[in-house]
Subunit: 233 residues, 2 copies
DNA sequence: AGGTTTCGATAAACAGTGTTTATTAAAGTG
DNA sequence: CACTTTAATAAACACTGTTTATCGAAACCT
């Protein structure tokens, strides 16, 4: 551990490393993420970086945490930016922002939700809490729609498979997160559905099939809201 | 190019390489996919493999093609195994088989639909046709359900966003694939939705949230069928 | 201020990797 | 047999992440 006064410089250089790492990744993909390459860019030898990150994996973990945080902030920001709109519109904008962040930061998104670095797997005790942060916004909005009666039409998503309901309920109680089981369930369902579209898009499988992915995603978000029981606009 | 008589031996050893590669990958993940490691296992030096695969990427591409083919065969097999059941049940079983293959061959699935090998991206002119092969089974079943009036309830998935409909229609005509636009659209929608669940599961993000992924997926398949307009069982 | 500790950075080396080159041995064909 | 083609090799190249021992400089404490 560095001494208290040096801590500032230490953290500053740590930030620079992450900055360069992110930049290199954006340019050359996850393949370009090399200790030596980063060191070169910083006019420093490779072993020097070990003072800041004990191992290569720790660097990646730091980037993953940054990524998750960025996604969570984008989602939260989207809600704040549309806080004056009706809940349904807020939810739509939040879901659009979710994909938009993925499109704008494809590498980060892959690193978060996939594992493009061979042999590396993000420690879930670190990732799970941050995933939930962005997730909470979505579920919160759904819960709001349910409570205010803006989702009243009964749909398939009102019937939760029993084993799933139990786990979801436990999670809600454990995290002390005041939403209904149904809201949580709908959140997970929507999350999964949209996640599939985004992943397919990111790896180039969806574009050739549906052409304009932007329009397609927009349509799917709207369909999701309707499928949940919200009235079409 | 090897001579005509040697061709047999050449192809045989090529197969052995792929076999070992697949095995190594299953054991040590995509990280364990190394030319030298494969060569060691085959009691051969690394450069020898270059007679069979010009480069590392070509080996991977061969594995990807094998993977896609395996998935397509699993899907087709699932339909054949349930050909005596009603169309709706056939579709359910096919969709369950789709995930089951992913669970049984997680590495292959990641390699197919993601890109866990840094710097490598599967050439779409090779992958797209094989993706469609498995996809065709699903769309075919949906089309059958639509034509036989087993999907008659109007749902959101009957209304296709115009830009998407155009592209889908072009694909159908170009590939001379005799299904309706609606069947194609529902196929894509379902594919995307379930793909999200599978990807989240494979990377360990879904398990902690829903507990029993098996039951959850089953429920989602059923929900999907209902959401498409098929009556609940 | 002086002595000691601590931190940052380094060069050198290790064990790997994918890939290229030149060379050798072994088959198949006329 | 001579000749060509193929397979495999050893050696080397340019990398990679990581460890070790070493050195200078700054920070702390007395």
């Amino acid at each position: 551990m560095p001494r208290s006064r040096d801590n500032q410089q230490h953290q500053a250089f740590r930030e620079r490393i992450l900055e360069v790492a992110r930049q290199q990744m954006a340019q050359h993909g996850t393949a370009g993420l090399g200790l030596r390459a980063i060191a070169r860019e910083l006019d420093v030898t490779a072993p020097a970086l070990y003072r800041y990150f004990p191992t290569h994996d720790d660097l990646i973990t730091a980037l993953v945490v940054e990524g998750f945080t960025g996604l969570a902030e984008a989602v939260e920001g989207a809600q704040q930016a549309n806080i004056h709109l009706p809940l349904r519109d807020q939810l739509r904008e939040v879901l659009l922002a979710y994909r938009q962040w993925a499109v704008d930061h494809p590498i980060d998104f892959q690193m978060i939700y996939g594992s493009p670095i061979p042999g590396y797997h993000a420690p879930s005790e670190i990732t799970v809490p941050i995933v939930i942060r962005g997730f909470a916004v979505i579920v919160g909005l759904i819960d709001g729609l349910l409570q205010s009666g803006q989702i009243q039409r009964e749909t398939v998503y009102h019937h939760i498979p029993e084993p799933t309901r139990q786990i979801l309920h436990e999670r809600i109680e454990r995290d002390n997160y005041p939403v209904s089981d149904t809201a949580m369930y709908m959140g997970v369902v929507g999350w999964g559905q949209l996640h599939g579209i985004i992943m397919l898009e990111l790896f180039g499988h969806l574009g050739p099939v549906v052409g304009n992915v932007d329009a397609y995603y927009r349509g799917q978000v709207e369909s999701l809201l309707v499928a949940m029981g919200s009235d079409p606009p």
